[in-house]
Symmetry: C2
Subunit: 481 residues, 2 copies
């Protein structure tokens, strides 16, 4: 969704009204959260972003010059160099890396074949973290189940020596909430099937597209379960397998993968800052992740997020009226394979954690931002409404929200330490079409939509970095992911 | 486009008017092309098809139980068995095969890598008929050109020992007419590049989608040119290569293919008939092709065509009022690799060619049919307008057309012998998104749209098989494709 002229006009109307009432309010109302000049600067920043930013160029450069960047791969190394260079060139200060040890999994080759009158090669991906099958592969009869719950309800006798096929479709939703209910097939499926004696797991991709792409993503083996290889099928291929099973219950699959675990490798978080003025020791953190899955170019996941937070910070650095707090951009290592960078950052943070006033993350594609969720001290919710009022023309609703947002995976460890989070919610209707597939390319990035997201992040970051008083602290909790 | 209730109502209105005027016309106007009963039967046939046909089930069965069926492959053999069984079960008569010797090309594996700070694997397809590179592959600098004409304008010095990249985008059109102007890159590119000393050819896919699928298709080596391997890149990958070349003119590619030519193999045309009544020796031929490319399931190309012509004929066989001519369905072998089946059919036809009153082909996807083109004797154009009037509610315009239609590739040899052709033009706006890709699957087939195409083909075939008098003959020409 691109910002339309009507919205921009509406915004000027709002601004005009605000400016008209400024003198009266300035005289009668004590400044609590922001001065009117702060709010006017944030509104101007928003409009500046809507006129066009360099965000698309950041994603284009990262996806073209680096491309795929799975943790620990040569692409990951190249991405760290790219980020250092780019933040330096853009005028960030304190550009530095933070070494992070990351697991290294190598996909190798994947082959899934549906046997029958004529063998058909299915479009499949080995799930991230899966063991391989060995060169000989595995051939077995298929048993189809509708969900992980349905699998859990089976007896070992139904499953033993078979290939389990979990055929549950992820439905399209605007906020991506359907991901949570299907991703467990990917994460836990192999261990549940392994415990029942299955020889391999095949799932319908956790993704919404009917294009023929398999969605990868991380799976995890339970300590106690036999390890079996795990694969996903594209939606059309899951359809084909299910149709074949309807006419022939004895349908067999042959699966082969040369996936393997390698020794851990060094990667790095890349950090750069826009220094604050009078409260430079206090930090507003903007997060995205630098790694990507190996199949695609990582344009949406998470090249777009990198571009949004880098560009939001860059636009703030160009303002005449600088923020009083420091804006710190952290491009985390290895989100996909277990949040290594996020955990290491939180581990190293020490006393500085109390200086983290707020954290925000961008990791659900290009946008647009459709609302602003939070998890802040309840006393700050009035300030949040003022923040949303500046975003309203994007449009973002001023009211609503449950103040229970997680904020995203990479800022999870900070949130667990008590750091409040803002969560600009991006429209994810199309995100799960390309998420974790070969099709996550620059062709799916709309520069105008990305600019709108930059506008929202820039407003939120600027206002967080200028706010009188903080957003409180959350109750610390153990971080167990 | 699905038939809407409004259209169906409109059709009943048209019918009511026709029925109201029938007696008067029947008394005053001599029957020339069709009786009113013929026309009413055709209209009822159309409405029967719009209510829902078995066409989707035919495509589903072919793509699920057989899948890819490249000429000479095990899938091709399975497809011939499938077609024999299906035509038999549906009640066709004279179900038989006609042996056809077909070339056999095997794709093997394809790897195209863009070298740079981090090597990126590009989504590519070896073009059909290309030689392989050997296990060692080929690595060379890339030279980008905008078109085949631009390549033709270069000197050998510019191209020698390089990999030529023809970066011309196929534009989206409703009738697919943009295919003709870009497909020459695929067919002739390798020989033009080879003559200039290039070591390999890479083209932007001849296809309209921005999904990450490479489009394959046949290429041909000139006798006189050095043979070099030829590849296509998906549109997003062609974009990526072009962007990389903008920042680094020295960009190199590594290409590898294990493609190879095998000895020719036996395949078959599959033929079945709906026998005519008083003119059973005269034939209306309905054509589609049974082979497909190896990458996809061949759902649109040409599973849909097979379903349309089989189902149109089947619906006609269920009428109380049988056609006087015989309707012959021919599912041709090996359209993709040089029309082997079509040429063999025309070679074997002998004296029977004069008995072929008309030919029609379905080979541009699922539809809907948007107009009816022709190449018939000019005296028959009045009859064509009457035929279109029955199709009008689909909607199909009654007027227009240039009477210069080719009718399609597989009926080309018949047309060259002088057989007139009807050419129901299918909406091809989306066809070239999936054409010749891995993404040509059943997920792209809309049963309702397919039913509309069946309606159009059934009406045309029925009226052709009942028409008083024929459609004339065309001037015979050499068939040189």
């Amino acid at each position: 969704m691109a910002p339309r002229p009507a919205r921009i006009l509406a915004l000027f109307a709002v601004l005009a009204v605000q400016l008209a009432v400024l003198p009266a309010r300035a005289q009668n109302v004590p400044v609590t959260d922001w001065t009117d000049a702060d709010l006017a600067t944030a509104a101007a920043l928003r409009d500046r972003a809507l006129k066009g930013t360099s965000a698309f160029d950041h994603v284009s450069s990262l996806t073209t010059e680096v491309g795929p960047r799975l943790a620990g791969s040569p692409g990951d190394e190249a991405a760290v160099r790219w980020a250092m260079n780019r933040l330096g060139k853009l005028g960030f200060t304190g550009v530095r890396t933070q070494d992070v040890l990351v697991p290294r999994w190598v996909r190798g080759s994947t082959e899934v074949t549906m046997l029958g009158p004529a063998a058909q090669t299915l479009v499949a991906a080995t799930l991230g973290g899966s063991i391989g099958t060995g060169e000989e592969g595995i051939e077995a009869q298929v048993i189809e189940v509708a969900s992980l719950d349905a699998l859990n309800a089976l007896q070992a006798g139904d499953v033993k020596n078979k290939i389990v096929f979990i055929n549950q479709r992820m439905e399209r939703t605007k906020d991506g909430s359907s991901y949570g209910s299907t991703v467990k097939n990917r994460v836990q499926g192999a261990s549940v099937a392994g415990n029942l004696g299955a020889v391999a797991l095949v799932i319908r991709s956790v993704g919404t597209s009917d294009e023929r792409f398999a969605h990868t993503g991380r799976m995890v083996y339970d300590m106690s379960a036999p390890r079996i290889p795990a694969f996903s099928l594209s939606n059309p291929d899951a359809d084909a397998l299910s149709r074949q099973l309807k006419t022939n219950k004895q349908t067999r699959l042959r699966v082969k993968s040369t996936a393997r675990e390698m020794p851990p490798a060094w990667s790095a978080n890349v950090i750069g800052e826009i220094p604050g003025t009078d409260r430079a020791g206090e930090i507003v953190l903007l997060a995205a992740h630098l790694d990507s899955w190996d199949l695609g170019q990582g344009a949406l996941d998470d090249g777009a997020g990198v571009a949004i937070v880098v560009e939001a910070a860059r636009l703030i650095s160009r303002l005449d009226r600088k923020p009083s707090r420091t804006i710190r951009v952290v491009l985390f290592a290895n989100e996909e394979f277990g949040l290594s960078g996020a955990k290491e950052y939180a581990r190293l943070i020490g006393d500085e954690q109390a200086k983290h006033v707020l954290a925000m993350e961008a990791d659900t594609g290009i946008g647009p931002v459709i609302r602003l969720e939070t998890q802040v001290a309840p006393e700050s919710l009035g300030a949040i409404e003022k923040m949303r009022a500046v975003m309203q023309p994007l449009p973002v609703p001023v009211e609503g929200g449950t103040n229970t947002a997680s904020g995203g995976a990479d800022i999870g460890p900070l949130r667990a330490l008590g750091v409040p989070v803002l969560d600009p919610v991006l429209d994810a209707s199309l995100y799960f079409d390309v998420h974790h597939t070969m099709n996550d390319t620059l062709a799916k990035v709309d520069a105008k939509v990305l600019d709108q997201s930059v506008a929202a992040y820039a407003v939120a970051a600027y206002l967080a970095a200028t706010k009188q008083g903080d957003f409180g602290r959350l109750a610390p909790v153990p971080f167990d992911r």
